[in-house]
């Protein structure tokens, strides 16, 4: 977890603590998790304030050798704290502190700084308050001139401090801030995401999804085992619906003869066919095509699922990204507010997930939601009821994952659990049961405790309710589509469209990561 670390040291007085508080509060206003810790020497009335900010700060104490900046009003204290500074760190010291120190200490300081390769800024008197009680505020101002935060952050900080920062303190701060140092760069990002509007829910129906995919450049879909008539048909549909371009993998002669027999008008010769001699080779070649970037999506055709998954999960030649693979079902659900897309996971890969696996499954589903344009999906962790019961591991897992989301360890979604299905998807049921939660009645993702529940629940949406359904395996370096033999043609088509959106999302993420 990256953080920026500063230490402010000097004789203990209220002014130094206030100046440290000002920096801590400004970091909070700049959007970081910020914390400050006071270390007091017992004997000599000196104090050092550790100020840390970043996406998430755990220890309030800065580990030795990791301070980026040392702000000092006292040379002796600076010497004591030098080992806290990282190599190449910055020391900002009140010029008066140097002027008033004995020669021995000044000499020790010079040689130590030279050894550590620190940048030292001896702040001239012109930028320091003459009143010693205001010197910490001036030095905080000098520190502010090193920090990459806009003036608005400082304005809001002073507003929040109110009477605790009187005009004299503000003046001293601005005197220091006029130092105009070169801005230091910290490789950290604020914890806050831009606020999301209530309508920012992304694609709400499959028709919208198909429209969206058609507006994008066509993706290349690698079909493993294209000798199969259904698989061949899926490839042809891709072309005809404008969803993508197929790459057929399998026995060339069989593929050509199947195409000539069943799809006479389809110009199969215009598309790439990679010929293989065995089922295992088909799986390996198809995976290789995707891994090498010659196709964006892997679609299972006639090849056996275990054979394909062995190739996908191969340590070096597969499509592993270090994450667990999981199957996310997406279905159209007409709720109280109109139709929207809801996800169920994991109905296809992990039999009885551990809590760690459930977290990965959840994260995979959140990626799918993001690909569908839902920037902050609401996730319900399903159980039989909302009561936490140590005898029921599913309820304990759900509560633990919820607390991890609340403490910022699972991001990009709002998680709630344990939650029964009715409370998760029906506002009315939630109201009757008195469940007050941002997820209740509005869940976008349903994470089931086991494959049995997820699979049965997903299929019941089609077989009992007649809803349209698609699904995709995520967690690899590319979307993987493993259609069930009994999937309808519509479901297969929707899955390809979903895979296209996922491929596009991965592409954008890679571009963002540089």
């Amino acid at each position: 977890m990256k953080s920026a670390n500063a230490i402010f040291c000097g004789a203990e007085n209220g002014a130094l603590l206030k100046a440290s508080e000002l920096l801590c509060l400004a970091a909070d206003h700049a959007g970081y998790d910020a914390v400050m810790h006071i270390e007091r020497g017992q004997e000599d009335g000196r104090v050092s304030c550790h100020i840390r900010w970043g996406e998430k700060i755990w220890s309030p104490l800065i580990p030795a050798g990791q301070a980026d900046m040392l702000l000092s009003l006292d040379l002796r204290e600076t010497l004591l704290l030098l080992p806290m500074l990282r190599p190449g760190g910055t020391i900002i010291i009140d010029g008066n502190a140097l002027a008033g120190s004995d020669i021995g200490l000044t000499g020790m300081f010079a040689s130590a700084v030279d050894r550590l390769g620190c940048a030292v800024h001896k702040v001239p008197a012109a930028f320091c308050a003459e009143d010693p009680a205001l010197a910490p505020a001036s030095l905080a101002g000098v520190a502010a001139s090193f920090l990459p935060w806009p003036d608005d952050v400082w304005r809001r900080t002073f507003d929040a401090l109110g009477d605790h920062a009187p005009a004299s303190v503000r003046d001293a701060f601005h005197k220091g801030k006029s130092y105009e140092a070169e801005t230091l760069r910290f490789d950290i990002s604020p914890r806050f995401s831009p606020p999301l509007g209530p309508t920012d829910k992304g694609i709400r129906t499959f028709d919208e999804m198909l429209e969206r995919v058609r507006s994008l450049p066509p993706r290349r879909v690698c079909i493993a085992g294209a000798e199969n008539r259904a698989a061949l048909h899926a490839g042809i549909e891709c072309v005809e619906r404008g969803l993508g371009t197929p790459v057929f993998v399998g026995n060339r002669e069989t593929i050509l003869s199947a195409a000539r027999e069943a799809f006479v008008d389809f110009p199969i010769g215009d598309y790439e066919i990679i010929s293989t001699a065995s089922e295992q080779e088909t799986a390996e070649q198809a995976v290789a095509v995707v891994r090498e970037g010659r196709a964006d999506i892997l679609l299972k055709g006639g090849v056996n699922t275990p054979t394909l998954m062995r190739a996908v999960l191969h340590a070096t030649k597969g499509l592993r990204s270090g994450s667990l693979l999981s199957d996310s079902f997406v279905f159209e659900f007409p709720d109280e507010d109109g139709t929207r897309l809801v996800m169920i996971t994991d109905g296809g890969v992990t039999l009885q997930p551990t809590i760690q696996q459930k977290i990965q499954i959840l994260r995979n589903a959140v990626v799918v939601a993001h690909a569908l344009g839902n920037a902050m999906p609401r996730v319900a962790l399903l159980a039989a009821s909302e009561t936490i019961n140590p005898a029921l591991a599913a309820t304990m897992d759900a509560a633990a994952i919820t607390s991890m989301n609340r403490s910022g360890q699972i991001t990009g979604c709002i998680v709630e659990g344990p939650m029964a299905l009715d409370v998760a998807v029906s506002r009315k049921a939630a109201a009757i049961k008195g469940t007050d939660s941002p997820v209740a009645g509005q869940a976008d993702i349903l994470v089931a405790a086991s494959i049995d529940t997820a699979n049965a629940l997903a299929k019941s949406t089609t077989y009992f309710a007649g809803y349209r359904l698609s699904h995709v395996i995520v967690g690899g370096t590319a979307p993987i589509l493993i259609a069930s033999r009994s999937d309808t043609a519509d479901a297969k088509l929707l899955s390809i469209a979903l895979g296209s959106l996922m491929a596009r999302h991965f592409e954008e993420q890679r571009a963002q990561a540089g």
Partner: protein, 477 residues
């Protein structure tokens, strides 16, 4: 919610009581809560009373809570030792409103006073342990609710590291609680043995609650290889060092939520307990049969440090150290802090040599203790074991030469260990020769050892143990 500027641990404690609708804070601490409570200003209907002693502090708060108004007793570690009987009586009280006891370690030296948690457990009072000011604020509020729900006082243990940490807190609006009116002395109130069964039932109910509480406890399910159980500041240190481990962060440390621990141990392979202060959680877990490693991997005296956690986990091969695990160089050692590596090396050497440590570098009291010990032994009344006193700076040694001179008459080995850091202390800078000074007052055995060299310190201590009268070991950096 009203967002306020940063609050320290102690400010958050008072503010938490205010927002929970408490009517009174009764304090017996060093840092005055009246001044602390001015940020932001507190309103009418909330009073802070300063108690003359620890027992009065507890009994006044008990009286207020029995009278139907929420009360917070703010008391330091030393105070808990004095007031433990009053607290044990309070466990059997029947409150009209919540009673929360915040144990505040309000000075660095309080880390040297015995960990209050075993005492509180003996008094049958549940203990919550927050990890930072934001948690303090919410734990105090929850403690009042629990106190009323289970009719038992609740302790919030705020350690020194948390007290001195500041964070931006969102303080809820003050809850309005109506005074319930003082009742006649409740017939149900029982103290002594007759109350124990009732109190045990309440404690069991708190444990059942704690087993299901993910507001006070938290599980971070990450790596299945390493599981760490921690509470308070230890959680934050461990999370800094090894964020990829799985964590069970205990907010309720007594009664221990054993079912939650059992659930956690189900998905991790190696289990460690890391805690500030004494091995309180570790001993309870071992007694309950959980296979945990703790103080054997993270040895420390007094306060826990980041370096101790890092060193322990690295020694177990649990991670590649991301932070420095070497003791800070002498330049970074700070006078008088019981946490720094020099003191740890010294303490370890003294303990290994079975030397009786007569207190710790705190104040003149340390020297007085040693003096009394020496005199007592000289009169043939004291124990036979050698004793040591730790003197934080040469200037302290100089300031108490009279006491030290008296000790030269003792007929058992007495060792004065002087920490002399980096030449920053006045006597060293002015060239005062400690050895010659010692010879002048009749101390002939003076040795010098490097400050962080535990082996050299051990050898010097062993040699000093064989010398009758006082000898001096100067630990130089």
């Amino acid at each position: 919610m009203n967002t306020h500027p940063t609050l320290s641990g102690i400010e958050a404690t008072v503010r938490g009581a205010w927002s929970a609708g408490a009517g009174y804070v009764v304090e017996y601490v060093y840092r005055n809560a009246v001044t602390l409570s001015t940020k932001p200003p507190l309103d009418d209907g909330f009073s802070i009373l300063r108690a003359p002693d620890a027992v009065s502090c507890v009994e006044t708060a008990v009286g207020i809570a029995e009278g139907g108004v929420r009360a917070l007793a703010l008391i330091n570690r030393r105070g808990i030792q004095s007031a433990i009987d009053a607290l044990a009586d309070a466990a059997g009280a029947v409150f009209q409103a919540g009673l929360v006891v915040a144990v505040i370690e309000d000075e660095p030296a309080s880390a040297l006073v015995a960990d209050p948690r075993p005492l509180l457990r003996a008094a049958r009072i549940p203990i919550l342990e927050p990890a930072g000011p934001v948690e303090v604020l919410s734990y105090v509020d929850q403690a009042f609710r629990l106190s009323e729900q289970f009719t038992i006082p609740i302790t919030v243990h705020v350690t020194r590291s948390v007290i001195d940490t500041c964070a931006v807190c969102s303080v809820p609006e003050r809850r309005t609680t109506s005074k319930k009116g003082i009742s006649t002395f409740p017939a149900e109130r029982r103290t002594g043995p007759s109350a124990i069964a009732d109190i045990e039932r309440r404690i069991a109910a708190v444990e059942t609650f704690a087993n299901q509480s993910f507001d006070l406890n938290a599980v971070d399910a990450c790596s299945p290889d390493v599981g760490i159980i921690a509470a308070g500041i230890a959680y934050r240190y461990a999370k800094e060092v090894l964020p990829t481990a799985s964590f069970l962060k205990l907010g309720v440390v007594h009664p221990l939520p054993r079912k939650m621990v059992s659930y956690f141990t189900g998905f991790v392979k190696r289990l460690y307990v890391i805690e500030d202060g004494e091995p309180f959680i570790e001993e309870q877990l071992r007694a309950a049969g959980f296979p945990v490693s703790g103080r054997d991997v993270f040895p420390h005296a007094g306060e826990l440090s980041l370096e101790t956690v890092a060193k322990g986990l690295a020694s177990e091969g649990a991670f590649q150290p991301a932070i420095s695990i070497e003791p800070l160089t002498v330049e970074a050692s700070r006078h008088g802090e019981p946490t720094n590596p020099a003191y740890r090396s010294l303490l370890s050497a003294l303990r290994n040599s079975s030397v009786r440590i007569m207190g710790f570098p705190e104040n003149t009291h340390t020297l007085q203790l040693a003096a009394e010990y020496g005199f007592a032994r000289a009169r043939g009344k004291g124990p036979e074991t050698p004793a040591a006193m730790v003197i934080p700076t040469p200037s302290r040694f100089l300031a108490h030469l009279a006491v030290i001179t008296d000790l030269t008459t003792a007929d058992i080995p007495l060792i004065a260990c002087i920490i002399d850091c980096a030449g920053t202390d006045l006597p060293t800078r002015e060239g005062i020769d400690i050895r010659k000074l010692c010879e002048g007052i009749g101390i002939s055995h003076v040795s010098e050892v490097p400050l962080a060299d535990e082996r050299a310190i051990t050898e010097a201590v062993t040699a000093a143990c064989n010398i009758r009268g006082i000898s001096v070991i100067r630990l130089v950096g």
